[in-house]
Amino acid sequence: MKRVDIPAIEMLHITKRFPGVIANDQVSFSARWGEIHALIGENGAGKTTLMNVLYGLLPADSGEIKIFGRAVNITSAGEAIGLGIGMVHQHFMLVPAFTALENIILGAEPVRLGWTDYRVARTRIRGLCARFQLEVDLNARVADLSVSSQQKVEILKALYRDARILILDEPASVLAPQEAENLFSMLRRMAGEGMCIILISHKLNEVMTYSGRVTVLRQGKTIECVKTASTSPEELTRLMVGSDVIESSPKAQAATTLSPSVLTVDDLTVIGESGLPAVDLVSFEIGRGKIVGIAGVDGNGQRELAEALIGLQEATGSAILGRLQLFGLTTRERLDAGIEYIPEDRRFALIPDACIEDNAILGRHWGKGFARLGVLNPAAVRSHADTLIRKYNVRTGRPEMPVRYLSGGNQQKLVLGRALGRRPKLLIACQPTRGLDVNATAEIHNHIRTECARGAGVLLISYDLDEILALSDRIMVMFQGGIAGVLRTQEADRESIGALMVGAA
C-alpha cells in the first residue's frame, strides 16, 4: 500500500463563523505526506482560522476532518498533538521567562518519581537537533534568544511530540532572507523524510520556490488547488485577489537639488534593558520630501530608534528637527514641534474604549482649535472628527462610537489620517500597513506620498521589504542596533539588502 495515496489530512467543507463574518465557508483542503503544501490568500482570507481549527484551537461549526483517512474530532490542542499535528504560530507561543528546554517539554515533561527528568529530555532533544540539523542553546532563556532561534524552539516543540504534520504560519515573516533559506531547506529535508508540511504564506516568491502544491483561499472560500510547477505568480495573485489591484502611483521623481534637512541624527544611542546598546551610534539625515526606509529584521533596534525620536525612550546623542534639538524635549513638546508618530503597536496610538472623536484629538487635545483655558470645545472636536473620517475613508457608524468597533484597517486609517492631517514636518511610520489588504495598503502609500510632496520628511520602518522598496528614496539597513548599510533604492536589490540584514555583508 502506497502511503502517498491516502492524504495526510483532509478537511472537508469546514465552516467557521465569527460574529459578523464567515471566516471559513465550506472550505475543503487536503495535503499529502512528503509534500510542502502552501496555503495562500490575502489577510482575512481565512488561512489562519482554518489551521487553528485543524490544531484544535477553534471548533468548526460544521465539516469533517480526516487524518490519514480516519475521521477525527479535534477539540483541543492536546488532541491535535496526540494525532501528530504540530503548529508553529505566526506569533510565537513561547514563555519568555522559561529556558528553551523548558519551553520544548512544556506539557510533555518526562517524569521520574514525581520529578521532572531533565536529563532524559535533554538527550532526546539533542537527538532531534542532530537529525534535523537544528542548533539551539537549550539553557538560554527564550527572552534572550534571537527571533530565528525562537522559531527553532517552536519547531523543536512540535518535533519533540513526534509531529508528522507540521503547520507553519508565515514563518519567514520574521526572518532575514538567508535565515529563511535555511528554514526552507530544513523543511524540504523534513518533507523528504515523509512529513507533511503545510505552509501558510502570502509571499509568492517563497511559495513558488519551495512548495509542491498551492491552495488559494479568498474571503473564506477555497478557490483552487494547483500544482506549483504549473502555475505562476501572476495567476496566483489573480486567484488571491480576484479583481484588479489599485496601482499605487509611481514614486515622485527625486529632486536633484539639495534639499534642506528635516531631521539630522547624530550618534543616537539607546541603552537597552540588558545594559547593551539597542541602538548604537546611529547617524543619518532625512531631507524635505524624502522617505528614508529602515529595513531590518524585527528586534534590531528599529523600535527603540523610533521611540527615542518621539521621546518615549531615553537616548543620548543628537536629533535636530529643522533647527530644534529634540533631546531634552518632552513628547508633548516634540509633537508640538511637528513630529507625528505611527507606532507599530496600535496600543500606543488608540484608546479602544474611547470614542472616535476623542481618539482623533489625542496628541493635540490641549491645543488651540480644541481647547481654551483648559476647557474643551465639543463642537470643534466633533467637526475635526467628521473631516478626518471623510477624507481618509474611515468606514464607521458615528464619531461617538468607541474605536474598538472599527476594523483593523479602518483603525489604521484613522491613526494615519490623524497624523497626516496635522501636516507634520516629520512622520515616523512603523509598519504603517501591517495587517491591511492590498487596496488599503495602496491608499495609505498614496497618502504618505502626498504628504511628502508637501515637504514632509518620512522615516519609514517596516519589516516588509516590498513596502520599503516601494516607498523609500533611500534605504538604511539596521542590524544589531547599528546601520549596516545605506543604499539608494534604484541601486538596491533583495539580495544585498538581505545580506546586510543578517550582518553578512
Partner: protein, 351 residues
C-alpha cells in the same frame, strides 16, 4: 428614556441579586428577610427625621464615592479613602478649634485644611506609584492603618481635649460649624456634595486635564505616546481623589460632630468603594448610589433594633453589589485597575 433604562439596568440587576443573596443569608441564620428589610425601609425613609438622617449619611458617601470614582477613571484603585478621610477630618477639626475667625472665613479655611490634609494623604500613594511603581491598592491600605494609628495618637496626646477622658479634639468654635438647614440636623454639607457632583461631571467631560486623566485610565500607552505625562496624571488623580476624601471627612466633622473623635467614621471610606462601582464611576450614578447606601446604612440601624438581623447585612449587600456591578467593567465609564505588579513588556514578536 430608553437610554436611561439601559444604563440603569446593570446596577438595578446587581442590587436585586445582592438583596436576593442577602435574603438567603438572613433565612439561613433564622430570621425573616421580609420583616428585616421592611424594618430597614422604615428606618431609612419611613419618617421625616429618618429621611433627614438618610440624607445626612448620604453626604459623606457621595463625596467619598466621587473620590473613588475619580481614581477608577484614571485606572487607580484608591482604597485609602478611609484614611484620607480621617486625616482630612482631623485637619479640619484642628483648624476649627485652634484658630478664631469670623464664620465667613472660618468655614472655608477649615474646609481647605481638610481638603489639603486629604490631598497629602492621597499624594503619598500617588507619588509612590508614579515614582516607584508601588501598587496603590497595597499602599493605600497600609496608609489607612497608619492614618488610623496616627490620628488615634494625636487625639489622645497633642490634640486631645483636656476636659474629658474621651479620645477627641476640643469642640470646634461655633464659627466653624456648618450651618443647619432643618431642625433634624441636615446641614450645608448637602450643598457641598451637590457642588462636588457638578464639578466632577464638568471636570471629566469638558476639561483638558480630565480628558487626559480618562486617557491614562483607558489607554495609558496611547496616552503616553500622545504626550500625556502618565506619572503626572497618576499623582494628580490621587491628589484630587484624596482631596475629595478629605473634604468628605471635613464635612462630617464640621457639620455633624463638631469635633474629631476617634473612630468617628463608621467605615464611609469602605462603603464608598461600592458606591462608586455601583454608580458606574459617573457623577449622577455615584450620587444616586450614595443615596441608596445612605438609606441602607441608616435603615440597618433601625432594622437591628427592631429585628434580630445585625446591621452588617449591609456590608454583605455591598460586597455582592461590587461583584455584580463590577462585572460590567468593559462598559464605557469604568476603567480597569492595573494588577499590583506592573505591566510587563512582552518578549518576542507580538501582534
Amino acid at each position: 428614556m430608553r437610554r436611561i433604562l439601559a444604563i440603569a439596568a446593570n446596577p438595578l440587576a446587581a442590587l436585586g441579586l445582592a438583596f436576593g443573596v442577602a435574603s438567603i443569608v438572613i433565612v439561613i441564620s433564622g430570621e425573616n428577610p421580609l420583616s428585616s428589610f421592611g424594618a430597614m425601609f422604615a428606618g431609612a425613609l419611613g419618617s421625616g427625621p429618618a429621611l433627614s438622617e438618610t440624607l445626612i449619611k448620604t453626604i459623606p458617601l457621595a463625596i467619598s464615592g466621587l473620590a473613588v470614582a475619580l481614581g477608577l477613571r484614571a485606572g487607580l484603585f484608591n482604597i485609602g479613602v478611609e484614611g484620607q478621610l480621617l486625616v482630612g477630618g482631623l485637619a479640619a477639626a484642628y483648624a476649627g478649634y485652634a484658630i478664631e475667625l469670623p464664620a465667613v472665613a472660618h468655614i472655608p479655611v477649615c474646609i481647605a485644611a481638610g481638603v489639603i490634609g486629604g490631598m497629602i494623604w492621597g499624594y503619598l500613594p500617588g507619588i509612590l506609584k508614579a515614582g516607584r511603581g508601588v501598587h496603590e491598592v497595597i499602599s493605600t491600605i497600609m496608609l489607612n492603618y497608619i492614618a488610623f494609628y496616627l490620628t488615634h495618637y494625636l487625639v489622645t496626646h497633642q490634640l486631645k481635649d483636656v476636659h474629658t477622658m474621651a479620645p477627641q479634639t476640643p469642640a470646634i468654635h461655633p464659627t466653624a460649624v456648618l450651618p443647619q438647614i432643618s431642625q433634624s440636623g441636615l446641614h450645608w454639607g448637602i450643598l457641598i456634595a451637590g457642588l462636588c457632583v457638578l464639578w466632577f461631571a464638568f471636570f471629566l467631560s469638558r476639561s483638558v486635564k480630565g480628558f487626559e486623566l480618562k486617557a491614562v485610565g483607558q489607554g495609558p500607552d496611547a496616552a503616553r505616546a500622545s504626550g500625556i505625562s502618565v506619572p503626572g496624571m497618576i499623582v494628580l488623580a490621587m491628589v484630587l481623589s484624596g482631596g475629595l476624601a478629605g473634604l468628605a471627612g471635613s464635612v462630617e466633622v464640621l457639620g455633624v460632630h463638631h469635633k474629631f473623635y476617634d473612630q468617628f467614621s463608621p467605615g464611609y471610606g469602605f462603603d464608598s468603594i461600592a458606591v462608586a462601582i455601583l454608580g458606574g464611576n459617573t457623577a449622577i450614578g455615584t450620587a444616586l448610589s450614595a443615596l441608596l447606601f445612605g438609606a441602607l446604612r441608616n435603615g440597618a440601624i433601625g432594622m437591628q433594633l427592631a429585628t434580630n438581623t445585625p446591621k452588617e447585612i449591609v456590608t454583605l449587600i455591598q460586597a455582592i453589589v461590587i461583584v455584580f456591578a463590577g462585572m460590567r467593567l468593559l462598559g464605557r465609564t469604568q476603567a480597569v485597575p492595573s494588577p499590583p505588579e506592573g505591566e510587563g513588556r512582552g518578549g518576542g514578536p507580538h501582534g
